[in-house]
């Protein structure tokens, strides 16, 4: 028998229970605790995927998140998730998994023909397609786009729930291997609030495949005891939770998988949760990733990392092969060999590239297996499965029969988060590894990700970091380095207690630093060995197997001049696949360094960016999907409006009715009818969304004069005035009205769209520009709900409610329906109009009373469509249209309204000559000469093909007369009244001849405002 299979016994899977799953339609059985990869291996399946470019057959290489080959699509319908690592997908009953990037089947993939044209599609071939006639690219493009991508994108909407949560802690520990567990326990014991995040479904990390004793307990028992102790100490332990990103101020994001990819959540429906964690200190304990070795056909199914083979044997009770060749440059692979042998494999040989190796574990292996020093793999034999290996031992060829090659090219500490946090690295030439050096935030790396080796040292490292972190809490902020500082040197080896080593005293009560009693404790004695042995075919020696980047590709790129690692990466796509080069980047870097003849650190590293592992877009979106994409702000009258089922207009987060169409009416017809009702009788509209601010105190008038560019300080109590507000650069930021409520109290209104911006503007003026003012400023936007009643019969409608309407720009307090109101006589429509303000919770009742009165006078409701027609005809500017942040009061025809003596924000800037140039774009009116609507946003041209001289800001039609009109901003606008221009909108495909006119089309004298 050959190939992978389930071992007769062993592993942490629940052999008493069986669950069914399918892969490419074939139903298999596995056990709880299996990953898809382990279950497939247990079922004898070693072919799990196809590579990106050459469609080469691939098996599983790793046993964790670094897996580059065995990528599958998991789930169906709205739960389908592509590019899921089979080694990181825990089995569940009913799992449906499919292979990717193959046609018609995984076993027979036509795409594999690409291998035959490999010489034509080497590294960078994509870029070379740009060389040549452009028409040729059209041919390439079609083929290349079809070939791009591995898994198919989901086509159905996500069906499950995702949420974002905030969490805070003194100490966040990322990774729950031995170092992380020790760190978390020490920190929790020290009284710190601890969060421990582990990407695996179980705590323990490397201990899950280890036979070590800790504190006298088998590793699994120690893990269980530690987990219980953490719970008792109040630590938050998050399993299946990956630390994805490390941002400024010690903020990290974690993705918690509540269910596996494609799995239906329980009744809660929650599939994943994104945690935003702010931590005082961060302990990174993410371990190290084993590197492959470069030899011919090193991507064959049956070539596996030695550590992964050990995990499959010990943790999952699976034999990934029967006859095993182990290739290594370190001692750790010997542990894998021993584990595989104990599980029932035959170790054909251990090929050690080192010329000398004499540790205890090597000696133990020598007693059981053939161990060859100074030995290198040349090639893997076989087509779709390893059948043997060719090697060279001390210069002599050696041929071996095997169905599994377990390779270990050393270890790459996981420094991703450390680097995302702005850290620096040290280089270890001997082991060929970057390790964390300077930490610029509150992080410290411990255990294997800090380059520590040997269980005792790892435990001691983690424990000490946990103790230090707890001691620093909760005042860690004071220890944060300054942004420009040199950073904090990570606790180096000198700060670490010496390895306890075999025979240390156990801590039976678990009260102190955990002590390991491992049979083979100590360093891995890795001796980096980057150069493939002579005879290796570099064209099939894969550095990045997922993207099919070979050693030959890297060499070619270098020969073509790609000397920067950033350029090399992009040209060859090294490390740009879904695994982000976890197993490949350093090998590629080393090869570039060799070609350059420079040390690896001088060649440099590419940037480590979040996320650490692929994550779903749904997790990033969280709750913000569908109708919750953005919050919906409702006015106090929302329910009343909704009863009319109006078409809604989003205005910021607000929803406002565009109109109240009658049966058979179009939106335009409804808007025009409503506008005419205002012109001829009376209408009412919900204007609760207007920005409103109350300003009170001895310096209230002074603040108002700073904010408003019009004369306002001499307003009498009970009177109001139109005003505009400027930024410091002299541009209009908003307009509104200002009302004097009392001697030291004002009400300032602004536009709906600009309300939130005005909150910031007022705060800026109050707190930054005039911090000494004795004045209080409060946004009362939602304190006051508001209804505007407008039209020639508006006064009569209010008078019928026993309310004495004020004169234009007057203000009175009164009651409607027994409820207190504030009535402001101001008009946006051009008609006599009133704004009735009331506490928002009273507004629905007041609306009902007003509606009866308005209806009794022949009027009705109107929405934003009518409001727009009315204000355009009146020539009133609007924030977001004419007020676009680029125009001065002079541009908008408001020069005469400005306070001559200045003193307002923006006044000094208005003195700049550039803001008074005659050719500035200024407000004009536009009339369509030939009929037809003027396209909003259209360019204003003097003739076709000429440079745009302005644009149409708002467009509508006359309300009671005929004709289409618009407002626009036109270079030297007012001086060009009478000219004919073209209003051209390429996006709408319309061009209209327009006349330039004055911007007020209706009642320019303002007679209709007044009684």
């Amino acid at each position: 028998m050959s190939g992978p299979s389930r071992a007769a016994q062993g592993g942490l899977v629940d052999r008493a229970r069986t669950i069914k799953f399918s892969f490419d339609g074939q139903v298999y059985e596995g056990h709880p605790g299996d990953t898809l990869a382990s279950a497939l291996l247990a079922n004898g399946v070693s072919l799990m995927g196809r590579s990106f470019k050459y469609h080469r057959p691939r098996g599983v290489l790793a046993a964790g998140v670094e897996e580059p080959n065995a990528l599958v699509g998991a789930g169906t319908g709205g739960r389908y998730e592509p590019n899921t690592r089979a080694s990181d997908l825990f089995l569940y009953d009913g799992l449906v998994a499919v292979s990717q990037n193959r046609w018609p089947s995984l076993a027979f993939d036509v795409g594999a023909l690409n291998s035959l044209i490999a010489r034509f599609i080497p590294a960078g071939f994509y870029y070379k397609t740009f060389i040549g006639p452009p028409w040729l690219w059209k041919l390439y493009e079609h083929v290349i786009r079809r070939a791009a991508g591995l898994g198919a994108a989901p086509t159905e909407p996500e069906v499950d729930a995702f949420e974002h949560r905030a969490a805070f802690c003194d100490v966040l520990v990322a990774g729950a291997g031995p170092a992380g567990l020790a760190a978390a326990l020490a920190a929790a014991r020290g009284g710190a609030r601890v969060i421990l995040a582990e990407q695996d479904a179980r705590l323990g990390g490397s201990l899950l495949g280890d036979e070590a004793l800790i504190d006298g307990l088998p590793a699994l028992d120690w893990i269980a005891r530690t987990e219980a102790q953490l719970a008792q100490l109040g630590a938050r332990v998050l399993k299946r939770t990956t630390a994805m990103g490390y941002y400024d101020h010690n903020q990290l994001t974690l993705i918690e998988r509540r269910v596996e990819a494609g799995q239906a959540p329980g009744a809660s429906g929650l599939a994943q949760r994104l945690w935003r964690v702010r931590a005082g200190r961060v302990i990174l304990a993410q371990g190290a990733i084993e590197r492959p070795i470069l030899f011919s056909n090193n991507d064959q199914p049956g070539v596996i990392l030695a550590g992964a083979a050990k995990v499959y044997a010990r943790r999952y009770g699976v034999l990934p092969g029967r006859r095993v060749v182990v290739a290594t440059n370190n001692d750790e692979a010997y542990a894998a060999a021993l584990a595989l042998a104990d599980a029932g494999c035959e170790i054909v040989a251990i090929l050690d590239s080192r010329s000398a190796a004499g540790s205890a574990i090597v000696a133990a292996a020598r007693a059981r297996f053939a161990v060859h020093l100074d030995a290198d793999l040349i090639s893997a034999k076989g087509a779709k499965q390893v059948t043997g290996a060719e090697a060279v031992v001390a210069g002599k060829p050696l041929s071996l029969e095997a169905d599994l090659i377990a390779a270990s090219g050393g270890f790459t500490p996981v420094v991703h988060l450390h680097m995302q946090a702005g850290g620096t690295l040290d280089w270890n030439e001997t082991t060929g590894a970057f390790t964390p050096a300077i930490a610029r935030q509150g992080q410290v790396s411990v255990g294997a990700c800090a380059g520590r080796e040997g269980l005792s040292e790892v435990l001691a490292d983690g424990w000490l970091a946990g103790e230090l972190a707890a001691a620093a809490a909760p005042s860690t902020a004071s220890q944060s380095p300054s942004p420009k500082g040199g950073g904090i040197r990570t606790e180096g080896a000198t700060a670490i207690a010496p390895p306890s080593g075999e025979g240390d005293q156990a801590q039976p009560d678990g009260g102190g630093q955990p002590r390991a009693q491992a049979k083979y404790d100590g360093p891995t004695n890795t001796l980096a060995h980057w150069t493939p042995a002579p005879g290796v075919n570099l064209k099939t020696a894969f550095v990045d197997p997922q993207n099919d980047v070979t050693a030959a590709d890297l060499d070619l790129a270098w020969r073509e001049g790609y000397r920067s690692v950033e350029h090399l990466k992009r040209y060859t796509t090294l490390g740009m696949a879904t695994d982000q080069g976890k197993t490949s980047n350093l090998i590629g870097l080393a090869r570039l360094a060799q070609a350059e003849g420079r040390p690896v650190p001088e060649v440099g590293l590419t940037t480590f960016r979040p996320p650490y592992t692929p994550t779903t877009l749904a997790a990033l979106a969280g709750e913000a999907t569908g109708q919750h994409m953005a919050p919906l702000r409702r006015t106090p009258l929302y329910t009343i409006h909704a009863a009319h089922n109006p078409p809604w207009q989003p205005v910021g987060y607000w929803q406002r009715p565009r109109a109240y169409p009658r049966a058979g009416e179009t939106l335009a017809q409804a808007g025009l009818r409503e506008a005419r009702s205002v012109r001829t009788a009376v209408g009412m509209i919900d204007v609760s969304t207007l920005g409103k601010f109350e300003i009170a105190g001895p310096d209230a008038a002074a603040l108002i004069e700073r904010v408003c560019a019009t004369p306002v300080a001499k307003l009498a109590v009970g009177r109001g005035r139109y005003t505009v507000m400027l930024r410091e650069d002299g541009m209009v930021v908003d307009d509104g009205t200002v009302w004097r409520l009392g001697e030291q109290r004002y009400l300032l209104t602004s536009s709906t769209g600009g309300g939130d911006r005005m909150v910031g503007h007022l705060s800026y003026v109050r707190k930054i520009l005039e911090p000494g003012y004795k004045v209080a400023v409060a946004s009362v936007q939602e304190r006051w709900g508001a209804v505007a009643v407008a039209g020639p019969l508006a006064r009569a409608a209010l008078a019928g409610l026993d309310l004495e309407p004020p004169a234009h720009m007057g203000l009175v307090r009164g009651q409607i329906g027994g409820l207190a109101v504030l009535v402001l006589a101001a008009s946006y429509s051009g008609e006599r109009a009133f704004e009735i303000y009331a506490p928002s919770h009273d507004l629905p009742r007041i609306w009902a009373v007003l509606q009866d009165a308005v209806t009794a006078h022949g009027g009705g409701l109107y929405g934003l469509e009518a409001l727009e027609l009315l204000r355009i005809e009146k020539g009133h500017i609007e924030t977001g249209a004419e007020i676009d942040g680029r125009h001065t009061p002079g541009d908008l025809g408001l020069t005469k309204a400005l306070r001559a003596k200045g003193g307002f924000v923006g006044a000094p800037a208005l003195a700049r000559p550039a803001l008074s140039l005659p050719d500035r774009q200024r407000l004009v009116g536009l009339e369509a000469e030939d009929g037809g609507a003027i396209p909003e946003g259209a360019m204003l041209l003097s003739a076709r093909g000429r440079k745009p001289e302005g644009h149409v800001t708002s467009a509508g039609r006359r309300v009671t007369a005929k004709g289409d009109i618009a407002l626009g901003l036109l270079s030297a606008g007012p001086e060009r009244v009478g000219e004919t221009l073209l209003a051209s909108s390429p996006t709408r495909g319309r061009t209209v001849r327009v006349s330039v006119v004055a911007p007020i089309f209706y009642d320019p004298e303002g007679a209709r405002y007044r009684d």
């Binding site: 729930a161 949420e163 974002h164 949560r165 905030a166 969490a167 805070f168 609030r193 329980g266 009744a267 809660s268 429906g269 929650l270 935003r276 702010r278 969280g622 709750e623 919750h628 953005a630 919050p631 919906l632 702000r633 409702r634 006015t635 106090p636 929302y638 987060y653 607000w654 109350e694 009170a696 105190g697 001895p698 030291q744 003012y773 004795k774 004045v775 209080a776 400023v777 409060a778 946004s779 009362v780 936007q781 939602e782 304190r783 006051w784 709900g785 009331a838 506490p839 928002s840 919770h841 009273d842």
Partner: protein
Amino acid sequence: MIEALAIQPCAPDALLRLEQWGAVPAALPAPGRAADTPMGRLIWIEPGAWLLRAPLGDLVQATAQLEILAGDDGAVIDITGGLARFRLTGPAWRELLTVGGVFDVENPAFAPGCAAATILHHAAIWIDVIEAETADVYCLPSYAQELAAGWARAVRVSANRF
């Protein structure tokens, strides 16, 4: 458990904002604190500003009392109707406010008598811890319905936790 968390929209209150630009009266809660006073519940809401919540019928009286407290170094602005209030009751209220939140609401130091201004699901909120298992959350009324819907959703999807 889910039944242990009650989310109750509250009837309108009289709400007054006090802003001090000079000396802060000793009767006002310290930053980050709230307290019951004879006028009503006084809550620090931002540097130099406090919120007084009183029964709606006590608006006039509360305004007068607060203006006396403000003296010449502060001003009172009536913002009644400007905030909606929810009362959260149950041990899971803290966890609920971590969903879509950014504030360390689970910190044991954020105890009864503490108050905070923060955001939740894009909306500004103010939290007033009344008792160990009771908190008031204030938000703009325009967001109230959306916030309640978000909470209902959070409770549903995390039913095994709340």
